[in-house]
């Protein structure tokens, strides 16, 4: 009996998954078409057939702790070919949401982030923080003078960073906690299900694997193997690179300001500015495309709050960012400041809520893919 896996189905888990968009998972009758239909599923212990039965049996631990649910890129080939209408793609997506919430501490916040009703409060929080901290520190000047519009006059860079830097640290810490559990779990699971020969998880080689997969991720090589909707690769790429671009720009800005005391706004001729603009545009177009694709895929693919909120946030970030700049160039001071304010709120949301939102896949999928590479899984 030792080697036996004692089954403990969790009915609520099944119901929760149903609620997260996997409302058809019980239709699965294990024909295994999905495992073959999936263009990126490995030959050994392929997914998502085994995930489908585990899900319909309510085997939470088996699933949440499995790295395989992250290898899935949700391209939907399995869902299209499923003879029973069980939509394995949606089930795996739901499982990832569940996992993100599971690893994202504190749980309460994780649930709030994935609950549409809580959205207004979540967006209000940064606003309140800004105003209060601004007033206390007096770094918030409601009457920015000067002929040209300089946002730092309105929102002192000090104020922004006073809030944003701790916010990013928070994010890093939360992720650190999540990742610790995550890595332990997926390794144990892989060992238990014979997906790897490696007894221990050695950091060194694993980091090498991360290095191996990064280019893959940037190239979207897995994405482009999807038969169902290759165009998703493009939009996803635009959004990803948009974020990366803006991240770089922000960093440069940060360094030059504190390092060399050079303040913005930069002139339009500045290459950093170019990068910023291109990245912003990419973000906007990319997320817009995603929305279009999502609508096109209905009803074959379930799109839930977790999807809409993320794409929405990306779009909002891009738009407010661009508008801030445009309104500034247009010389509409009041408008520009307002939009900038909103923009900052979204940036805050992005940072602080990142570990609980779908965007966390940025971290977990990367690690899962790295682990697959590390554990020698043909993937």
């Amino acid at each position: 009996m030792a080697d036996r896996y004692m089954i403990e189905p969790d009915l609520n888990f099944i119901k929760e998954l149903n609620g997260m968009g996997a409302d058809t998972l019980k239709k699965c009758y294990q024909c295994a078409t999905c495992s073959v239909a999936c263009p990126i599923s490995p030959d050994d212990r392929p997914f998502p057939r085994k995930e489908m039965i585990a899900a319909s049996w309510g085997l939470k631990d088996k699933l949440i702790k499995s790295g395989d649910i992250w290898l899935c890129h949700n391209c939907g080939d399995c869902t299209t070919m499923c003879p029973r209408g069980a939509k394995p793609g949606d089930t795996l997506a739901a499982l990832r949401t569940y996992a993100i919430m599971d690893y994202g501490k504190p749980r309460a916040l994780a649930e709030a982030v994935n609950d549409p009703k809580k959205l207004p409060i979540l967006l209000l929080i940064p606003a309140v923080i800004f105003v209060i901290v601004g007033l206390i520190t007096g770094l918030l000047d409601f009457t920015p003078g000067g002929s040209e519009i300089v946002h730092s006059h309105f929102f002192s860079s000090w104020l922004v960073d006073l809030i944003m830097v701790p916010a990013s640290i928070w994010t890093v810490v939360i992720f650190a906690i999540g990742i610790k559990g995550f890595m332990k779990d997926i390794h144990e699971n892989a060992v238990a299900e014979g997906k790897t020969q490696k007894e221990k998880l050695e950091i060194g080689p694993f980091l090498k694997s991360i290095v191996n997969v990064i280019p893959k991720i940037l190239k979207h090589s897995k994405f482009s193997e999807c038969g169902e909707n290759e165009e998703r690769a493009t939009s996803h790429m635009m959004v990803l690179f948009g974020f990366i671009g803006l991240f770089i720009v922000t960093s440069i800005f940060f360094v030059t300001m504190y390092g060399f005391g050079i303040h913005g706004p930069y002139s339009q001729l500045n290459p950093v500015k170019w990068l910023g603009n291109i990245a912003g545009v990419a973000l906007v177009i990319g997320s817009a495309l995603m929305i279009k694709n999502r609508f096109a895929k209905q009803p074959d693919q379930n799109t839930t709050y977790k999807d809409w909120s993320l794409i929405g946030l990306a779009l909002a970030l891009g738009l407010t960012g661009m508008l801030t700049e445009m309104s500034r160039l247009a010389g509409a001071a009041g408008l520009s400041y307002t939009i900038y304010f909103i923009h900052l709120m979204f940036v805050f949301a992005l940072f602080v809520y990142l570990p609980y939102s779908k965007l966390a896949h940025l971290v977990y999928r990367t690690l899962a893919m790295a682990y697959a590479d590390y554990s020698g899984r043909k993937f």
Partner: protein, 425 residues
């Protein structure tokens, strides 16, 4: 010959479709004492089973069962049948229906002696539908050796050509009548049994299974014709691309069945048919390997279960639980690689074989072309019977997917339902 005595109720029964089910309904009713008309669209009776090589699980020839039914027809003056005939219109109500039947020309009359001279004289060749297009035949032909009625047919395709004239000129018995025309005929009947049977699901519509794309992927019905002594290969099982004896054959179960993208229901016969066809290959090729990919093997009933157990004893037959979802062809060898996940071991299998047989399912004929009568169908086109109303009934595979045994069972019952309609009035 039974001499006719009065039947219980008066009236006549029309059976639409002269396949095994239709023949059964007609004969069972006629042998009670009722007048029965059979309307069959083919030039011969026997329908789908006439194309089969053997029945499962007894591995006996369907023509044996057909022969005895034909003998019953010959000995029963109460049965009147029309071949090349189709029902055009039905009006009226239970107990009294007016039916319009279209009789398509055969261009050959009862003088035909099956001497084969017309076929010899005819130059033009047409595709042989009886062999599912796997072979060609003359424009004047006998559908198959055991055709009943045993009378030649001249294809409309050669009408108006010199070939047609040649056929007429060569016939010593004045059996060729090129002036035959489509006629319509009215029948007054009390009850109608729709025994319109099934068509094999069009495998070409299952994109991922490569039928029509790769020559060495065939359907189970094609396999039946291949194995039949009167088939396109005289009973040899050969792979189409190069007529080579297959060393390995894969059977793909549920090719279209149990699949909401195609036929949501289970077609009932495919599992047993593939087990049977495995024996076709094995008895011809002692070393051939058989791979059967399934979701569930459905052997409903003891005889069937025993047959399955027998096949399993064959060390050259392998069963894999997992549906084939991908096929590819090696352009040089023309071999086919099928891919499935073995759900028991959790490994993807890429099995390369000489030949693949798709176990395609059955679709009710009514699904593709609705019948000219006031009938209720389910979502898949099977006729839903209303016994309270009576009068018209769907039987055999027009009513639900079934094997020959349960079709006959169902067809016999429907004969009584039809009789009840007549007795009521």
């Amino acid at each position: 010959m039974t001499e006719s005595t009065q039947a219980l109720g008066n009236g006549t029964i029309l059976v639409v479709g002269g396949g095994i089910g239709g023949l059964t309904t007609a004969l069972e009713a006629a042998e009670v004492g009722y007048e029965v008309f059979i309307v069959e669209k083919n030039p011969y009776l026997g329908g789908r089973v006439a194309q089969l090589n053997q029945y499962f699980p007894k591995l006996c020839p369907p023509t044996c069962g057909l022969e005895i039914n034909f003998k019953r027809i010959k000995n029963n003056p109460r049965i009147h049948f029309f071949t090349l005939a189709e029902v055009e219109k039905v009006s009226g109500s239970p107990g009294s229906y007016d039916v319009t039947v279209r009789l398509n020309p055969r261009y050959v009359n009862e003088n035909c002696t099956c001497c084969d001279e017309c076929a010899k004289a005819c130059k033009m060749e047409i595709t042989d539908e009886f062999n599912l297009g796997m072979s060609r035949q003359k424009g004047a032909y006998l559908p198959h050796e055991m055709s009943f009625p045993s009378r030649y047919v001249i294809s409309p395709q050669i009408i108006g050509t010199e070939d047609a004239q040649r056929c007429k000129d060569v016939c010593k018995y004045d059996a060729v009548d090129l002036d035959m025309e489509t006629k319509t005929m009215d029948l007054q009947v009390g009850a109608i049994v729709w025994s319109t049977g099934w068509v094999p699901y069009d495998a070409g519509r299952i994109d991922n299974l490569g039928f029509g794309r790769y020559p060495n992927i065939i359907t189970n019905m094609m396999m039946e014709r291949m194995a039949a002594p009167n088939g396109p290969t005289e009973g040899k099982v050969l792979r189409p691309s190069d007529d080579k004896a297959p060393e390995s054959v894969a059977f793909v179960q549920c090719a279209g069945s149990r699949d909401e993208n195609h036929l949501p229901y289970c077609s009932y016969i495919c599992c047993m048919a593939s087990l049977k066809q495995a024996t076709y290959v094995r008895e011809r090729y002692p070393d051939a390997k058989i791979y059967i990919f399934y979701i569930d093997l459905r052997a409903p009933g003891l005889k069937y279960e025993q047959f399955y157990q027998k096949i399993k004893e064959d060390k050259n037959v392998f069963f894999i639980k997992g549906k084939v979802a991908e096929v590819s062809e090696d352009p040089d060898s023309k071999g086919i690689t099928v891919t499935a996940e073995n759900a028991m071991t959790g490994e993807k299998i890429h099995q390369t074989v000489d030949m693949v047989v798709l176990a395609t399912g059955m679709q009710p004929s009514a699904a593709t072309a609705k019948l000219p009568a006031d009938l209720t169908y389910n979502a898949d086109g099977f006729i839903v019977n209303d016994f309270k109303k009576g009068g018209m009934f769907g039987a055999g595979c027009a009513n639900r997917p079934a094997d020959v045994m349960s079709s006959n069972q169902n067809a016999t019952g429907m004969a009584l339902k039809a009789i009840q309609t007549l007795v009521k009035r």
